[in-house]
Each structure stands twice: as structure tokens, then as C-alpha cells.
């Protein structure tokens, strides 16, 4: 497997990791809020979920670009 093939294959991993992280985050938030349903808990977890969802979307997009070969050596995205 060449480096570019590896980069593309890993792109699938990043695309999966995004939703997986959101699922774990939302699940933990629901459990913690149910355990202690006070405003502080809701605010904390609300902030976490609100902040990390767009980042997870960014990770999926990054994975998509990687899978499509945007970061291949030939594309030279960050190299001369």
C-alpha cells in the first residue's frame, strides 16, 4: 500500500470517528443530565455538545477530502 492509498483509507476512519464521537458525547450527556438534572449540568453538557458537533462535522469533511485524494502527495497541499 502506498502512502497516498493509506491517506485515502484513513479518510474513512476520520469520517466514522466524527459521528462516533458525537454519539458518545450525546449519550454521556444524556446519562449525566439524567443523573443530576440541575441547570449547571445541563449548561455544561449543552456547551460541550454544541461546541463539539461542528468540530465533528469538520472531521468528517476532513475525512471526505482525504478519501477523495485531496491530501495526496501529488496534490501537495502542505508540501512544496
Amino acid at each position: 500500500m502506498t502512502m497516498d492509498q493509506l491517506k485515502r483509507a484513513a479518510g474513512i476512519l476520520w469520517m466514522i470517528l466524527g459521528p462516533l464521537a458525537v454519539y458518545y458525547l450525546v449519550q454521556t450527556a444524556a446519562i449525566e443530565i439524567a443523573k443530576k438534572p440541575v441547570i449547571d449540568t445541563k449548561i455544561q453538557w449543552g456547551v460541550f455538545v454544541g461546541v463539539f458537533i461542528p468540530i465533528a462535522i469538520g472531521l468528517v469533511l476532513f475525512g471526505w477530502y482525504a478519501w477523495k485524494g485531496e491530501y495526496d502527495r501529488e496534490s501537495a497541499v502542505n508540501g512544496k
Binding site: 502512502m3 493509506l6 491517506k7 484513513a10 476520520w14 470517528l17 454521556t28 449525566e32 440541575v38 449547571d40 449548561i43 455544561q44 456547551v47 460541550f48 461546541v51 463539539f52 468540530i55 469538520g58 472531521l59 469533511l61 476532513f62 477530502y65 482525504a66 485531496e70 491530501y71 501537495a76 497541499v77 502542505n78 508540501g79 512544496k80
Partner: protein, 527 residues
């Protein structure tokens, strides 16, 4: 070639080049003025976090101390979460109007907000208006910081010669840690000078003296604004402006064009994300761990950090300069890798060093009770454990359950540990190692980010990934790590899984996708 950029042959007028570098003396003026302002902004930002407990008692309902502390931490977190928005707002202004005026503006906003926090009356006097005002001012601080760093790094880099950008921008990189250093120093000194009796001095500090570090900020800011006013605009940006080539819509150019957006994503997930958590774990979480998990004395936990920062800070420049010769990528990634594999052993060692066998100590006990009260429930037992190496551990707990005074995990018992010489310096050594990792990941990153993006949208493009990485992934580290320890309470090191996992992912992405070579073509792809 040492750095990421080669002398470019691009037809584009906005590329980073070194055709009009100022003389060496002028460059040091640029670095000095930029660094001073940035240091002050970090100082302003960190005194709030360092005084979280005191602020909780002043601005949030005292009936529920946990809620009060959480509210402050949430405010603290709000300061971090808002930073990327500051990056967008001020990055856009910086790419359209200019670097100089934008980071003058952020400095004034930051200084004004910090000064105003020092003036806000407490909750006891104005009720809920107090926490609301503090929250708003904290948000302004976060916005200002989001605009400051990218401007300062860009400004210095655009003055620096090709092949030496890592070295020159690394001086800007020292400011975040030095800002923390100054904030800790000012707080410690203020705590001790308000009265000849140390206990009375601390009481005065908690009552009103905490305002001094905030109010002091205005003096620092006035000096820094005066110096910055005398500076010229960045030569590259000035040239762009003369030629009418500044960006009309930097946000659109930065994030709506795939060629640039993919670089923004790479900068975030392959460098800034890991750098942020390594930064905050090695400094903030380490100090929080010392104080809250290891129960090291308030002043000692801070002086330990101060010494470690003092010894490690020169390495920002060492690694920044080195990155000009060997490239940025592997220095940053090595720092991340070391962090991933050694965080648990290092934090475990801190826990062991601060938890000596109490049965090996000379123990002295005395009862203490509320004056004039015969109620046995108000009585406490103060136990002092003295060790041959000078370590003194004091536990204070209810008189009932006497045996628990020998158990570090006993509920209701408060611990205060003053470390003897050898333990103290061992802790300094451990934190030094962790800050060394910080210097590896943070020293070269300004040059790395600056070189990734073209001049016309550089301020906007580099600021956003930096502040998501440093502000959100990094800034929330102490908060998330502490939260993990409350969810999985039987493992004091469980909080470390957050920085370890984030840094691991960043390492893999960085190793796979970030090129170890020059980033010149990055500019060319950003037409």
C-alpha cells in the same frame, strides 16, 4: 531547506516572502512590541482562571459552593469557547484593514474588560447583576484573545526573513506561558503583601485584594498600546493594500474555497488540536491536579509551576529556531508522542510523591471548635504529620471518625500538604518535563500556521484553527479532565484519557497528512 518556505517564484503578490525585511534592530523592536502586548493579553486572560475559587465566592451565590465554582468554571470555559469567534471577527478585520490596528483594538478590549472585572461589585451587593456582568466581560476577554494572537504571529512573521521565521515567531510563542507566569507571580505577591500577618493578608486578598491583579492590567495595557501605536504596518500587508489586493471577503476566501478550507482542517486536526491539549495539560491541568488531587498547598502548587515555567521557557526559542533547520512537523509530533506515552506515568509519579506513608511521620493532634460553642458536631480534629525531609501534611476533619484522619481518601477531611525540599524539586522536575513537551509543540506552530496560508487571508485562516485547537480542545482540558474524574471516581488519572486520545488522533493525522517539507505550494493553491 530549514523552514517550510522556499523563496517563491509565484506570480501572486500576496505570498510570504522576505524581500523587504527590516534590519535586525528593527526586527527586535517589532518582536518586543508584539510580544509585550500578547503577554499582557495572556496575563489578563489567565488571572481570571487562576482566581476561579475566589471569584466564585465573590460573584456567585455562596449557599452552594459547588454550583458557584462550576459557574465560574463555566464562565472560564465560555472565555475559551468564544475565542474562535474572536478569531473570525478580528481575523476578518485584520485581513481587510490591517494587522496593526486590529491587534491594537484587541489589546484595548482585553485591557478594558480585565480592568472592569476588577471594578464589578460582588454578588452580596448587586445580586445577579454581578455574575452577569462578569460573564459578559469574560466573553469580551475571549473575543479579544481570539483576535490578538493571530495578529501578533502574522505581524512578526511578515517582518521575519525567510528561513528564520521559526526562530523569530517563537518569541511570540513564549508569551502565553510567560503570561501565565506573570499572572501566578502577581497573584502570589499580592496575597502576601496586604498585611504583615500572612493569614490576615490572605483574608484581605480573598475579600478585596483579588481586584489588584485585574486593576493592574490597565497600566500594562496603556504602556503596550503606546508602544504599539508607534509601530508600522506589516510590510507585506502594506504592499497588498497599496496594490489594492487585500481580500474583499476573507471569511469566504478562507472557508468557502476548498483549496484553503482543506488546509484549515489540516491545521486544526493535524497540529493545533494536539498542541492545545498538550499546552493545557502540562500547565493548567498539572497545577489543578497538584492542588485538587494531590492537595499540595496553594502557594506551593503555584511556585512549583513558576519554577518549571522559568526553566522551560527558553526551549520555545530553542525548538522554534531548530524548526527552521529540520522542519516544524516532527518536532511538534515528537512532543505529542512523548506526551501520549508519558502523561500517565508522570501524573502517577506526582500522586505518589505527594502521598507519603503517614505512619512514618511524627503526628500531632489537636481539637478545634467554634468559639463559644459546646456542640460536639462543630468540633474538628487537626492532625499534623511531620516527615524527616521537611514535608508537613495537615488534615482537618470532623472529630467523629478519628481514624479517617490517616486516610487520604476519607470523606470530609481536608488536606494541605507542604512538600519538603526533595519532593518539591521532584515535582518541579516533572512539571518541567511536561512544559518541555509544550515548548516542542508550541514553539514552531506559529511559523507552521503562518506559512500555510497566503497573506491576504492569513490572519483569518490561521486564527480559527489555532483558537479551536488551543481555546476549545485545550482550554476545556482541565474542565473535561476534572469532569471525567467525577464520573469515574475510582481512578485519579482517568482525566488524562481526554488529552491522550485527542493528542493520539492529532499525531496520526499530522504524521500522515502534514508534509515535512516546505509549504510554499500551499500559497500557490490558494488563489
Amino acid at each position: 531547506m530549514g523552514g517550510y518556505l522556499q523563496p517563491l517564484k509565484s506570480k501572486h503578490p500576496f505570498i510570504l516572502n522576505a524581500t523587504s525585511n527590516p534590519p535586525e534592530k528593527g526586527l527586535w523592536k517589532v518582536i518586543g512590541a508584539s510580544s509585550l502586548g500578547t503577554l499582557i493579553e495572556w496575563y489578563d486572560f489567565y488571572i481570571f482562571g487562576s482566581l476561579a475559587t475566589v471569584l466564585a465566592s465573590q460573584f456567585f451565590p455562596k449557599e452552594n459552593p459547588t454550583a458557584a465554582l462550576l459557574s465560574t468554571l463555566a464562565t472560564f470555559a465560555a472565555g475559551f469557547v468564544v475565542r474562535p469567534f474572536g478569531a473570525l471577527v478580528f481575523g476578518r478585520i485584520g485581513d481587510m484593514v490591517g494587522r496593526k490596528y486590529t491587534f491594537l483594538l484587541t489589546l484595548v478590549i482585553m485591557g478594558g474588560s480585565t480592568f472592569a472585572i476588577g471594578l464589578v461589585p460582588g454578588y452580596a451587593r448587586i445580586g445577579y447583576a454581578a455574575p452577569i456582568l462578569v460573564l459578559v466581560l469574560r466573553l469580551l476577554q475571549g473575543l479579544a484573545l481570539g483576535g490578538e494572537y493571530g495578529g501578533a504571529a502574522t505581524y512578526v512573521a511578515e517582518h521575519a526573513p525567510t528561513g528564520r521565521r521559526g526562530f523569530y515567531t517563537s518569541w511570540i510563542q513564549t508569551t502565553a506561558t510567560l503570561g501565565l507566569f506573570v499572572s501566578l507571580g502577581v497573584i502570589l505577591i499580592t496575597r502576601q503583601v496586604l498585611d504583615s500577618d500572612p493569614i490576615a493578608s490572605i483574608a484581605k486578598f480573598n475579600d478585596w485584594g483579588w481586584r489588584i491583579p485585574f486593576l493592574l492590567s490597565i497600566v500594562l495595557v496603556v504602556v503596550s498600546v503606546y508602544i504599539r501605536m508607534k509601530m508600522e504596518e506589516s510590510p507585506l500587508f502594506a504592499k497588498l493594500k497599496r496594490e489594492g489586493n487585500t481580500a474583499k471577503n476573507p471569511l469566504k476566501e478562507s472557508f468557502a474555497r476548498k483549496a484553503n478550507l482543506k488546509l484549515v482542517l489540516l491545521a486544526l486536526f493535524g497540529a493545533a488540536m494536539g498542541q492545545g491539549v498538550v499546552w493545557y495539560t502540562g500547565q493548567f491541568y498539572a497545577q489543578s491536579f497538584l492542588e485538587n488531587v494531590c492537595h499540595v498547598d496553594f502557594a506551593q502548587s503555584r511556585t512549583i509551576l513558576i519554577w518549571a515555567i522559568l526553566f522551560a521557557t527558553p526551549f520555545f526559542v530553542v525548538f522554534g529556531g531548530w524548526s527552521d533547520r529540520v522542519g516544524r512537523k516532527w518536532i511538534m509530533l515528537l512532543g505529542m508522542l512523548l506526551a501520549v506515552f508519558t502523561y500517565r506515568p508522570l501524573f502517577g509519579a506526582m500522586e505518589r510523591i505527594t502521598s507519603p506513608d503517614l505512619s512514618a511521620s511524627v503526628t500531632d493532634q489537636r481539637e478545634s471548635s467554634v468559639i463559644g460553642s459546646d456542640d460536639p458536631s462543630t468540633k474538628t480534629l487537626v492532625t499534623t504529620h511531620s516527615f524527616p525531609d521537611g514535608t508537613v501534611i495537615t488534615s482537618t476533619g470532623p472529630i467523629v471518625g478519628f481514624g479517617d484522619q490517616f486516610n487520604f481518601n476519607a470523606p470530609g477531611v481536608k488536606w494541605n500538604k507542604v512538600m519538603g525540599n526533595s519532593r518539591y524539586w521532584s515535582l518541579v522536575g516533572i512539571i518541567f518535563i511536561m512544559i518541555l513537551y509544550v515548548t516542542m509543540v508550541y514553539g514552531p506552530i506559529a511559523a507552521f500556521l503562518v506559512e500555510l496560508f497566503p497573506t491576504r487571508i492569513r490572519y483569518t485562516s490561521m486564527s480559527l484553527p489555532y483558537h479551536i485547537g488551543n481555546g476549545i480542545f485545550g482550554g476545556l482540558t482541565p474542565f473535561i479532565a476534572t469532569l471525567l474524574t467525577t464520573i469515574y471516581a475510582n481512578d485519579v488519572l482517568v482525566g488524562l484519557w481526554y488529552p491522550i486520545v485527542i493528542t493520539s488522533v492529532c499525531f496520526v493525522i499530522g504524521a500522515l497528512y502534514v508534509s515535512g517539507r516546505s509549504g510554499s505550494s500551499a500559497n500557490e493553491t490558494n488563489e
